[in-house]
Symmetry: C2
Subunit: 102 residues, 2 copies
């Protein structure tokens, strides 16, 4: 399932309200201004997330990297933009594990 190390990364990632917020926001990419229906599959770019979070650019980038390392989102680089979207399969697997473990 999820190793101890992976669970640690997940809980650390989610123990920050801004990062948890981002994960929830990404459930509905269309809620970001200027998001086209065609972009939904690839995700939302960093600057859009940053704007909504009200954090610095570097902080936003780092937080997304933390979510990615925890396996909660996946990143896709296209041109100069990096798009982030939820890793739904892994999140489902995680919730299943949590139900087993706790």
């Amino acid at each position: 399932m999820f190793s101890e190390t992976e669970l640690l990364a997940v809980f650390r990632a989610l123990s920050n309200p801004a990062r948890r917020q981002m994960l929830v926001w990404l459930k509905d990419p269309m809620s970001f201004p200027g998001q086209e229906p065609a972009d939904v599959e690839i995700g939302v770019c960093v600057s859009d997330i940053q704007q909504r979070a009200g954090l610095g650019q570097s902080t936003t980038s780092q937080y997304l990297a933390i979510l990615r390392q925890a396996g909660l989102v996946v990143a896709t680089r296209r041109g100069k933009w990096t798009y982030y979207r939820r890793d739904e399969a892994n999140i489902a697997r995680l919730l299943e594990t949590l139900g087993d473990v706790f």
Copy 2:
């Protein structure tokens, strides 16, 4: 359901392997040496948990307090001992919330 503040407390509590371990251990109180069947309902005392965790007494006490404040365990004082057991109802409610939110 769970407020933002409550979720923060939960994730912070679980973002420590020792605390997560304790919560899992408490699923099976009988696995603690010297635990009587009659004690299962009330929980496990701090020193038994401490011994198993290999942490200091104060650290163990603090960690259990953090789990309690997060609503994951309940404490019962009986004589000079404090027994801790899982708050199963609240944990179930939490897992439900997690399924909704994430």
